[in-house]
């Protein structure tokens, strides 16, 4: 088992190592130690891109939460055999090719696309709206791509809550909504946080959606990292950014564990 884990740790260890070396003039690695790559990451240019990414991904996460929670709740209200079907319905798009799902939004959102044609046809707008190649399109694409990752953990959390807890609250005088707010919501917090991390992390790291739906005009951390490896051939700096992403992930999960512990008073 040690070997298995070593195989998993190695990739991260290697990029961690790379992050301390220098870039060669034509790419590759010059093996002299430096901290410059870390200093560069603090440059306002990259901090700005990080800010954009975090803002966009947070929007995606928030929207996914607002849509995903009621969805998961609705599924738990179905009969058990229907719950299974509803879950499959939610996951199924997730099992079709990611690129194709993203591409479908181009067809929907472009100025000649269905949405604009529909709105024009209904006379709601007189000129096509610029829907595609905007940060909004990127948010939409990411939301579409990762919504199931929000629904599933919340569903899992909700379905694990003993239904008698909710009934106990109602029995003690709480209205349906109060019982939801005071008992179901708090107990679903751990699962909800997992869902938020599951949506936020791949959103920040995604480079395909900004490229296809953002028209290259929106740059996120994922694009930046990809470009360091594939365009600028600056592996050390790309490694720094990748490491930063992993660190962010670890911090988010630590935060999630902490909040969970606080809510339930246990690990």
């Amino acid at each position: 088992m040690g070997y298995v884990i070593a195989f998993m740790v190695l990739p991260v260890a290697i990029i961690a190592t790379y992050s301390f070396f220098q870039r060669g003039q034509y790419g590759g690695i010059v093996y002299s130690l430096t901290l410059d790559n870390f200093a560069r990451a603090l440059d306002s240019l990259y901090v700005g891109i990080l800010g954009t990414s975090v803002a966009l991904s947070s929007t995606v996460t928030l929207l996914a939460l607002l849509i995903g929670f009621p969805t998961a709740l609705a599924i738990t209200k179905l009969q058990p055999q229907h719950q299974n079907i509803a879950l499959v319905l939610v996951i199924l798009p997730f099992w079709t090719n990611f690129l194709i799902r993203t591409y479908a939004w181009i067809v929907l959102l472009s100025s000649e696309g269905l949405l604009n044609q529909g709105l024009l046809g209904l006379g709601i707008i007189s000129d096509p709206l610029a829907l595609l190649y905007t940060p909004g399109a990127v948010v939409m694409g990411l939301l579409y791509a990762y919504l199931p990752l929000m629904v599933l953990p919340i569903y899992a959390a909700l379905s694990r809550i003993d239904p008698s807890l909710r009934e106990a609250a109602i029995d003690l005088g709480a209205s349906r909504f109060t019982a939801l707010r005071q008992v179901v919501f708090p107990l679903a917090i751990p699962g909800t946080l997992v869902g938020c991390v599951f949506v936020f992390v791949p959103s920040v790291g995604n480079f395909i959606v900004p490229e296809l739906l953002g028209g290259g005009k929106t740059v996120m951390v994922g694009n930046l990292i990809r470009d360091q490896f594939l365009k600028a051939r600056d592996w050390p700096f790309g490694s720094v950014l990748a490491i930063a992403m992993v660190v962010m992930l670890v911090l988010l999960f630590a935060l999630q564990a902490r909040i969970t512990k606080r809510v339930l008073g246990q690990g």
């Binding site: 003993d162 807890l165 106990a168 109602i170 003690l172 005088g173 709480a174 008073g265 246990q266």
Partner: protein, 344 residues
């Protein structure tokens, strides 16, 4: 004795399967009432209907003169203690107990006072700030109980209140529940499948089977005078012999005749219920058989013997006369012992 709760012709079906079949019951003020039945008998459905979590297909539930069929559970003056206790894991003991009072928007001071004194009553005065997962089973049960009675409901419903507890704790809690019921003066309705539990705590018991109430009576009455073979079989240990009476003897269907001089119509088909203590093992016994098992209880021993009476016979012997399995035995009973039970 005033009727607090009148359950009148209540029916409820799930997928055409009758969970409650025309159930009628009256429960009195300050009574400790038990609903006893095997699993699937409809007792839990009835309890949930009383709490308001199940709607009725037909019938009325009248509480203190008011039909509560359309009153939602959060507005009924009835509280439920859940089988799983359903303690909120994200709240402290204090907050769990205070939950219902807070929903009533009671003043802070009153809440603190009532919760604190009730926690003291149930013996958890120093546990108020604990989280529920830090409590033992018995402590959880006390919190659940406190939470359900702190609102002073007209009726407290208890769903299998002791089933999650160890035997020793369970015995303590049986006494505790009785004590508390007297102390707080609330009508308790307990649902249980455990006849010992029901018999030891309840003032009256309703025995349910397949969605119907088979008999409502005091524990002594149920034991001594079961209304039908199901109750006779379900309550206590008994030997039930089926046959028809004729000239002071019971003719079993396999032709064997056994003594029975109890008053009944000649020729009618009946069950004769014999409690183990009704039968004695004696060398003068007219019925012979073979011992097939013995269960030793300390002061006495339950013997099961095959005597050619269609079913094995169960009887008690003193701890000095315990036979061995395989021994031949002779038994007898007086013609006027036992109870005649008719099929309902």
């Amino acid at each position: 004795m005033t009727v607090l709760l009148d359950i009148h012709n209540v029916s409820k079906a799930f997928d055409q399967l009758a969970a409650l079949d025309n159930v009628s019951l009256q429960i009195h003020t300050n009574e400790f009432f038990a609903i006893l039945g095997p699993s699937g008998s409809g007792k839990t459905t009835l309890l949930r209907a009383l709490a308001g979590f199940e709607s009725l297909d037909s019938g009325q539930i009248v509480l203190d003169g008011q039909d509560v069929a359309d009153v939602p559970p959060n507005e009924r003056p009835v509280n439920l203690m859940f089988q799983s206790y359903a303690l909120f894991p994200h709240m402290t003991v204090f907050d769990n107990v205070a939950y219902g009072l807070r929903r009533e928007k009671r003043p802070q001071g009153e809440i603190a006072e009532r919760v604190t004194s009730l926690l003291a009553t149930v013996g958890l005065g120093d546990m108020a700030t604990r989280r529920t997962h830090q409590l033992s089973g018995g402590q959880k049960q006390r919190v659940a109980l406190a939470r359900a009675i702190v609102k002073r409901p007209k009726i407290l419903l208890l769903d299998e209140p002791l089933s999650a507890l160890d035997r020793k704790v369970r015995e303590d809690m049986q006494l505790e529940l009785k004590r508390l019921q007297h102390e707080v003066g609330i009508t308790f309705v307990v649902v249980t499948h455990d006849q010992e539990e029901a018999m030891s705590m309840a003032d009256r018991i309703a025995v349910m089977d397949q969605g119907r109430v088979e008999q409502v009576a005091t524990p002594v009455e149920l034991y001594k005078n079961p209304g039908n073979p199901f109750v006779a079989n379900f309550i206590g240990t008994s030997t039930l012999l089926r046959g028809h009476l004729s000239s002071g003897r019971l003719h079993l269907t396999n032709g064997v005749k056994v003594p029975c001089s109890l008053p009944s119509e000649d020729g009618a088909e009946i069950w004769l219920m014999l409690r183990p203590e009704d039968i004695s093992q004696t060398p003068a016994g007219a019925i012979t058989g073979t011992v097939i098992s013995t269960n030793f209880y300390g002061p006495n021993c339950l013997v099961v013997a095959e005597c050619g009476l269609e079913i094995p016979v169960k009887y008690l012997v003193g701890n000095s006369e315990v036979p061995r399995v395989g021994d031949a035995t002779k038994i007898s009973w007086a013609g006027d012992t036992g109870v005649v039970v008719r099929a309902s």
